[in-house]
Amino acid sequence: MSVLIFIDQSEGQIKKSSLEAITYGAAVAKQLNTTAEGIVLGTVADDNVAALGKYGVQKIHHITNEVLNHVDAQLYAKLIADTATANGAGVVIISHNQTGKAIAGRVSARLKAGLVAGAIALPDTTNGFVVKKSVFSGKAFANVNITSAIKIISLNPNSFHVTQAEGTAEVITVTASIAEPKVKVTAVNKVSGEVPLTEAEIVVSGGRGLKGPEHWGILEDLAKTLHAATACSRPVADAHWRPHHEHVGQTGVQIAPNLYIAIGISGAIQHLAGVNRSKVMVVINKDPEAPFFKAADYGIVGDAFEVVPKLTEEIKKLKSA
């Protein structure tokens, strides 16, 4: 009864969310006294696959067909489920990223295996197989018991710290016979150069307090200094000051960075729901009554246009020290 970890790749590179999944899966395997195995789909250099051993995975099934360089949920789910069955996997780990959201449910249905989607902690196996997940868009947690023989966990990005040691994984290279994908991909548009919001360690976010899209420069300077992703509140996205994919909150993207800096955001309950799993929250707002101060760890009551450039300067000083 091994643990099987789905390792997501894009253009031959392994995503950070998958490294988290490997570290998590290796910890689950250790807890259950069994081996951690991985599955990689599509073209990735052999050395890079074997090197994933340093995150704790012992054996990796690498299905190399080129058609898999594009994520097709139906094909992926079949290959993951078949590999799980062939190797007697008792637990399957998938990242709860965009790819994971497309496939985890399908794997669950194929294996008749209970799914906890969006897990944030290791399972508690003292009484059943109980996994904690975020519910009510970050306002609460639920402890969910998986009662089926095979268990599937999709892990929320940024909720499990990647650790590495020495180690090389044994790679089993397979060419599978694969059906024609039903979905035709006619265009792909990847945003390059930006830090993806859900993977970012630090997020700098702006609200209506910045008064207009032309004032975003100070926020972008701060983000650049911190290697942070930029985000915004819903009114800002609705007013088209910033693109919709930057909207964080209950009906936008939900994030859990190490550091969230909110500038000119009052902190409505819907906004807090999307960001309150951040480890440290800093609020800069000129209104001392802004509800965000009640949720924050650190705050400055002051004018963003004065405070933010100073903050950027001080961080530059720190980094060059």
């Binding site: 669950s108 295996a113 799914l115 009510f136 609460a140 548009n189 990847k190 209950q250 009906t251 001080e314």
Partner: protein
């Protein structure tokens, strides 16, 4: 064209979340119930727009839940849709719920879900329904067009977006971009009262998960305020105390 729109009842986005019975049940007292925003704003409205373009389109709504869901599904019918089906079962297990939907969805060309519900946030119902139907699933759609019986869908992927073409039947989960929120008008509200709401009994399916209990996030220790003229102190705290930079 027959479209099935999945509707879920969720607490209003401003609801204070609390639990009762030793944290095993959601405290419903004082909670306003709404249609899950992703189901309403994006998938239901897009289905209505498709029907406005092609009057032969049939829209059915489906929900899995008890009689307490009826007011919410009537609200959805007030926006549009020809009739609603309520599967009379209550569960928090996504495989169980999806199996109920799949048992009915086989009759349809297109199944719409929201990208997730704002209560359980699983984002998995559509994928399970699709697998049980052996149909493609286009997740996290940001744009949806029909070209005969082919769907052309923009969807969010890791680090960007892609365009998919797929022959129906298919299951699609909708998010921002697919449509714009609408407000029901008086005519719609009146019409919704007389639209059929069929109650069907669930098919027999095992549940694969169960909720043991809930927890609220630990209370914050309280904000540490730094004077606006001492930004250096904030940087020191973030570096030395919080170790966040």
């Amino acid at each position: 064209m027959k479209i099935l729109v999945c509707i879920s009842k969720t607490p209003d986005t401003t609801s204070k979340i609390a639990f009762k019975d030793g944290n095993t049940k959601f405290e419903e007292a004082g909670v306003q119930w709404i249609i899950n925003p992703y189901d309403e704003w994006y998938s239901l409205v897009r289905a209505i727009e498709l029907k406005e373009k092609d009057a032969a389109t049939v829209i059915h709504l489906i929900t899995v839940g008890g009689a307490d869901c009826d007011p919410v599904i009537r609200k959805a019918l007030a926006l549009g849709g020809d009739e609603a089906i309520r599967v009379n079962a209550d569960s928090s297990d996504s495989f169980y719920i999806a199996s109920q939907i799949a048992a009915i969805a086989k009759e349809y060309d297109l199944v719409f879900t929201g990208k997730e519900t704002i209560d359980y946030n699983g984002s998995s119902i559509g994928a399970i329904v699709a697998e049980l139907m052996d149909a493609p699933y286009i997740s996290l759609a940001t744009k949806f067009e029909l070209n005969g019986t082919t769907a052309v869908v923009n969807r969010e992927i890791e680090g960007g977006e892609e365009v998919n073409e797929v022959a129906l039947p298919a299951v699609v989960s909708c998010q921002k971009g697919v449509a714009e929120q609408r407000i029901p008008n008086m005519r719609g509200i009146m019409a919704a009262r007389t639209k059929p709401l069929k109650v069907v009994e669930p098919v027999t399916v095992e549940t694969l998960t169960s909720i043991v209990n809930f927890e609220l996030p630990p209370a914050k220790a309280g904000v540490k305020l730094v004077p606006a003229d001492n930004v250096a102190e904030l940087v020191r705290l973030l570096h030395e105390e919080a170790k966040a930079i």
